[in-house]
Symmetry: C2
């Protein structure tokens, strides 16, 4: 019998079954457990343990000792503690929009949570051209509740500072600082540039000093501005969906940062889906339909976010200065500008940096992928440089469509 209380080791599927049997109060003694490691992220092992007699199942997620993306990133397994605590907190703030967590085990660096196998990873679903009418509603509720309610607008300031302290996340923030804010904007050895895209990147991004200067401002904003408790990695690979349900997962990058970081990640990843559909869906009518749904979702997410944000502000703000005339609008417009910038950063970094998205890399043939990547870069650059003119949902869609028309 394995002693899971002695010291950390990386579990295999058989270990996860034994862990479920001996460390959890979830399955009956008569259960017949099977297990599969289903992780496709870069940092963790995800074990799905199922009782084949009853169909009941659970997820055991264990932090690996190093990032799976590259041995260069050595990561403390403390991120699993962060994930557990964040999921509990997010479930309080936005009930039903994250998986329930049952246990955190600091020795094995794992946490145990709901199995969402009846859901599908949103990136995959979008690449199959599925649409989710509930998504804009759910994700804006999630973002407004987690971002505004953890800010100094709503939260008692001493409590907020304790949360800031508790979720200082140096190692995962470093990954973002390097991979999102720095490397894609120069000819960096860790980049992974699709050869037909290189000349465009050199001419339009790497040679542009104005763009470089803006990325410096944004990077310092990311490092300094403890505005809201972010998810920190809110792309469509971190979201489980089905028609009537949205579950945000994988908050291990969580820390206090600029609220627009989360919103911008959502928008950029819907743009990847849009570009994927444009390139890969053969049937014209369905293509236009799905592109229209995606464009409409982008527009709605921005506009619904703004409406819900101001409503929640009105209802829940506790900070006296948040009641001063005009401050809510000023604050919100700042978030939308950050959203635009982060949309642009994400579009560029997923194209040129080390961590690509399948929406783009699966585009065939090569010329189509090259066109798609140039579109990502051209739009990305504009979302960064023109952020002070971006305010409404239609501004985001207009900029995307104008960039599309260029290629």
């Amino acid at each position: 019998m394995i002693d899971f209380t002695a010291h950390y080791f990386t579990m295999k599927e058989a270990d996860a079954i034994e862990y479920a049997r001996t460390m959890l109060d979830y399955f009956d003694a008569s259960s017949e457990l099977t297990c599969k490691e289903i992780g496709d992220g870069n940092l963790n092992y995800v074990f799905r343990v199922v009782d084949s007699k009853t169909g009941r199942s659970i997820i055991i997620k264990q932090a690996g000792p190093v990032a799976r993306i590259s041995d260069e990133f050595k990561l403390s397994t403390d991120r699993n503690r962060i994930e557990y605590e964040i999921l509990k907190l997010q479930n309080d703030l936005a009930p039903g929009l994250v998986p329930k967590v049952y246990k955190y085990d600091p020795i094995m660096s794992c946490c145990v949570m709901d199995d969402l196998s009846d859901h599908i990873i949103m990136r995959k679903a979008l690449m199959e051209h599925q649409s989710f009418p509930q998504f804009a509603e759910d994700i804006t509720t999630f973002m407004v509740n987690t971002l505004l309610l953890t800010s100094d607008v709503v939260m008692e300031h001493k409590t907020k500072k304790e949360l800031v302290k508790s979720f200082i996340n140096p190692e995962l923030c470093e990954i973002t600082e390097d991979l999102v804010y720095t490397e894609p904007f120069m000819d960096h050895p860790r980049n992974d540039v699709f050869p037909p895209t290189r000349a465009f990147a050199e001419a339009e991004l790497w040679a542009d000093k104005e763009l470089l200067l803006e990325t410096a401002k944004l990077k310092f904003e990311f490092m300094q501005n403890a505005q809201s408790l972010l998810h920190g990695d809110l792309h469509t690979g971190s979201i489980f969906v089905k028609k009537d349900s949205t579950k945000v997962i994988d908050p291990e990058f969580a820390f206090y940062g600029p609220a627009g970081y989360d919103v911008g990640n959502i928008i950029a990843n819907l743009i990847f889906a849009y570009i994927h559909t444009d390139a890969m869906l053969a049937e014209e009518v369905r293509k236009e339909e799905h592109k229209n749904w995606l464009a409409k979702s982008i527009e709605e997410i921005i506009d619904m976010f703004k409406v819900k944000f101001l409503d929640a502000w009105k209802e829940k703000a506790t900070e006296v200065a948040s009641r001063y005339e005009g401050f809510d609008q000023f604050y919100l417009e700042g978030i939308i500008k950050d959203t635009s910038a982060v949309t642009g950063l994400e579009l560029c970094r997923r194209t040129l940096g080390i961590a690509h998205v399948k929406d783009i890399t699966t585009i065939q043939p090569e010329e189509k992928r090259a066109r798609a990547e140039k579109l990502c870069l051209a739009a990305g650059k504009r979302f960064i440089l023109e952020r002070s003119n971006i305010s409404r949902g239609t501004d985001f869609v207009r900029l995307l469509k104008e960039s599309e028309a260029r290629f």
Copy 2:
């Protein structure tokens, strides 16, 4: 014999002598110790223990269990740990510009440090119209070294985040958030308004919605922006001077905040000295001389800060984005705008809020004090509202002199 290792209690002078004898390795067995409590701050007890045989002396500074300013502020005695660690760090960053610390005692919440009795508190010295030719040089070195070298420009980002965590300072930040950023800008019950100043405050400050909105922006900047490890209370009462020496003391408000907060406090408190001299120094020639020295110091502090800041940036920046063309200037101009705003906040809050400065309250007769206070408020408001046009040392002096000409 008292057991200082059992539990915290508030020391009296006799206890401090025994503490020096039994807990420190500083005085000989044959020493003849005397002690005086010399604290005039609001939060701590400061015991000066002297060996009358040799003249050797030392300071034992103990955190009181509540703020002496008002029982409303209950403070954790953890601030003494913060003070000890900050003084050690500041002495590494800016050698010779803070007192040396010898010991921190977490049970008694006290720390032991150099006695600076050969120095004088700068506020007092300035009210006696003394000048300090070394001051601009020293204080700009102190500020550039402590502010820039603890920022993400120079410091490795994971190390910086550990420092942010270590110096989260919820209680003392709350005092600043309330007393500096909020209460002075409304008719708040905790304000202490000199009656002849009230009508002016009502008309020019409390009725001004634009000003109120700017204070909200600045308050959130103070709460969110973890730019540099601040002193956090850098007024002329926190500085010991003699002709050839400057020692910054009392860093218990230290935390990661906007760098301009420290610089603005210095400038505002030199302005208080300027206004005091104008009102109270009878002899015209000496008055002009001392006012000129103060104005020149303000100008030099801003301009020397900027030059030294860019030099240190060039020499010590490690962050790759800090080398992008134009970013150093952008970053520095942001600090100067914050400096202007904080100069304005400090001018207003010391006039209307609970914590006054003697430079102003000692002005006699009443009409002169009222004039001085209106000047503080009028200039303060402009430093806040016009901060985006303020960049050079002469801009600060010009705005002061234009405000002076109004009354």
